[in-house]
Symmetry: C2
């Protein structure tokens, strides 16, 4: 039974919604020498670490052409079809995220623009372990592909025979990733973050992982490589009212709980009766799950919060900032509109989180641990950077220059002022010349400043 709290006072509420905090200093001590070994020893160190930690002897660090070919034959056709449907949905929704350049003449002769440029090299970490997480391949590689990243590599741990699950390889091929590294753990992150003779140093690393992976990403993010976002255990908040279907809500809570013993599961209900019904349903459904033990552990730390009305519900949602938010109440959309902090919102009773985890089209790499207050989930945005450009004509500088001179002077930066003054003096001396004047832009062909 999940513990039920009725109308908690605000300090009690804060306690209930408090996430576990982790002290990573112990893990940092384990991860640091691994990072150093890879930085110093390169490929050789990677092979040694694979043997030491994963008990696997790797001749080639990379998946071979033959392995890719064999993988496709090992995946059932029905599963292939499902992956393709998911791929299409994810692709469609993410393609719509590409942004057109902004081009604007802010003053006569002063044109600014801004455009998305793909991050050149990205590394995607796909965890291994008991299950083949091919959905992670879709969620990371599809936006990378759409963004147009030049080099996309995946790293994923193998089994003891040095094999990566065929579904992962099939999915990688489907989304156009040709380079898959047979590495797991902190050493995989180090390989991609530092680069070796055979592994390219990437500009940004994405993907979930265990605590070693998380800490390795965090440590490298300080100086060496960008990362997608800070990581924490997965979370769901489910909101119900007196008319909600208790079995659906219970199934959603359990889907989250089965992720791991540290999964964060919260039910918010405006009906005590419904809260109890959900609790009973959780008990009933739990017994049938193969990952029952894991889910049970997570549920032991979970909470059901019963509150008066929608205003209180909204307050709880926004102060928690859940990774996944399922709203199964009446007028669910109206409530969803008012959400300020959440990773992804599932609106209405027929929208389980699982749909978004796999195939609805949204991304499942989302901010946990309250980071939804300031971070977005992974999207095409995560695989590009926006570069700004400006082009000023002689006329434009005559107009804007004095403003810049005055502001630089007030900030006591006369070198900044002088960069404008030397130019203005020359224009005043020579008059507006043909070159770089408004009338004859130098490069009429350039796409940078061409409007819509």
């Amino acid at each position: 039974m999940i513990k039920i709290y009725e109308n908690p006072a605000s300090n009690e509420l804060a306690q209930i919604l408090q996430r576990p905090s982790y002290d990573f200093s112990k893990i940092e001590k384990i991860v640091k020498p691994i990072l150093e070994k890879v930085q110093r020893g390169g490929d050789k160190a990677l092979r040694k670490l694979a043997l030491e930690y994963d008990h696997v002897e790797l001749d080639d660090l990379w998946v071979t052409e033959e392995e890719f070919e064999a993988a496709s034959g090992q995946v059932q056709d029905t599963l292939k079809e499902s992956i393709q449907i998911a791929y299409q949905n994810i692709r469609k929704f993410h393609e719509a995220q590409l942004q057109a350049p902004t081009v604007m003449e802010v003053m006569p002769g002063v044109t600014c623009s801004r455009r998305q440029v793909p991050i050149e090299k990205v590394g995607l970490y796909v965890p291994g372990g008991s299950a083949p997480l091919f959905s992670t391949v879709l969620m990371l590689a599809v936006p990378a592909q759409i963004a147009g990243c030049h080099e996309v590599i995946i790293s994923s741990p193998t089994n003891r025979l040095g094999q990566i699950n065929p579904v992962v390889l099939y999915t990688a091929q489907l989304v156009g990733v040709k380079r898959v590294l047979k590495l797991g753990g902190a050493q995989a992150i180090a390989a991609m973050g530092y680069g070796t003779d055979t592994v390219p140093k990437v500009d940004k690393i994405f993907g979930p992982g265990n605590q070693y992976v998380t800490v390795a990403k965090q440590m490298l993010a300080k100086q060496d490589v960008a990362i997608d976002m800070p990581a924490g255990p997965s979370e769901v908040m489910v909101v119900v009212d007196k008319n909600s279907n208790a079995a659906y809500a219970a199934s959603d809570l359990l889907a989250q709980a089965e992720h791991g013993p540290d999964s964060q599961v919260v039910l918010v209900s405006t009906s005590k009766k419904k809260a109890e019904e959900v609790n009973a349903e959780v008990e009933a459904q739990l017994s049938k799950l193969s990952r029952k033990k894991i889910a049970e552990k997570a549920l032991g730390e979970s909470s059901i919060i019963v509150v008066e009305g929608r205003k209180e519900v909204l307050n709880i949602i926004n102060s928690y900032g859940p990774e996944h938010l399922i709203i199964s109440t009446e007028k669910a959309e109206k409530l969803a509109e008012k959400v300020i902090s959440a990773g992804s919102v599932f609106v209405g009773e027929y929208t389980p989180e699982s749909a978004g985890d796999y195939a609805s089209g949204t991304n499942h790499t989302l901010p946990t641990n309250g980071w939804a207050k300031s971070y977005s989930g992974v999207s095409v945005d995560s695989f590009v950077k926006n570069i700004t450009y400006q082009r000023i004509t002689q006329e434009g500088l005559m107009l804007l220059g004095p403003t810049v001179e005055r502001m630089a002077e007030a900030e006591l930066l006369d070198g900044h002022k002088n960069a404008v003054t030397v130019r203005l003096n020359k224009i005043r001396e020579d008059g507006i010349s043909g070159k770089l004047s408004k009338e004859s832009p130098e490069d009429g062909e350039s796409i940078l400043f061409r409007k819509g």
Copy 2:
């Protein structure tokens, strides 16, 4: 004289372009107790630290109404006008960055959407010191205002009388910021990151600062608050060819060099003769600068790289990833189009960096230290997060559900599968009901899934 390198080999080039690396462990040791003091002691600790480090006794941590009013009277009208022109340009260009929601029915009955939601509370750090950096107020507060952040606070150190520069206060008022905290250094970051009785805990902290500020931001970013981006010394790369104006290029190099002794200044030229001309111009202009000593120090560490042609130039630009890139060559736009990594690009001879630092409309908070390979400069994007939403009708789930079931099964997550199965079973049993079916969406009024 800046040192000139001719056609360096790739390993030599890597050496030349190597940025200084900093060991922050010493500063971390100083910053850590400051953070702890603020976390434990709140406002009282803040007052004590202001006295200890800034030698100022603060009765009120916040700028008062009277101080705001007095500030406006102390700023010259011509400067006010300039700030207003800059404000208009920055506002116009940043307003164009707001994104319309994406709404898409990816399959019949499966609708996804994504929309920008402002980050609720943001803290902007504005450094003090010798000059009043009011331009930082514009560059951070304008996008915050456009994004619609609910709470925008500024923190900036005072002089020993407890006063903040009137130009900073005038600019804050102009952009609608009403709450200015009289704090500098690591304690200011701690105040905004943890919150105290009078300082709200913010969701994200922005702004430049000295090494203590930088390290404090970095330390808090691990667990407590998001930050704009990693910080490093400011940089410019200027590209010239045989026909470029040497005086302009020299003025741009000097504008960067005057920032600080650790400023990164690089000239890339396809003409040795022009490189030498620029060097001579640097000498000539340097003597007139008030911050001559600082600039001289930075120039001592700077480089001029002479290469054969545009291909080599482009390679240097993209492997360095400069914060600011000034292209003063012929066909500057054509070269700029091919740039993959840079923070902001200044195209053509009449586009000095100073223009973008203050008033062209682009943002001046940009990625340094090679982070331009993966990070963008500050923009409206930095002050919002994108939340995704999905709504599935009964028909939609009938269509998509089996895909989700199969994928969840293949990932060995039967709780995930079950969340779909319980719903599909009910629909199959009862038939499509009126509620939540395609024909009668529950909330016709909602803006979340409304197209265009």
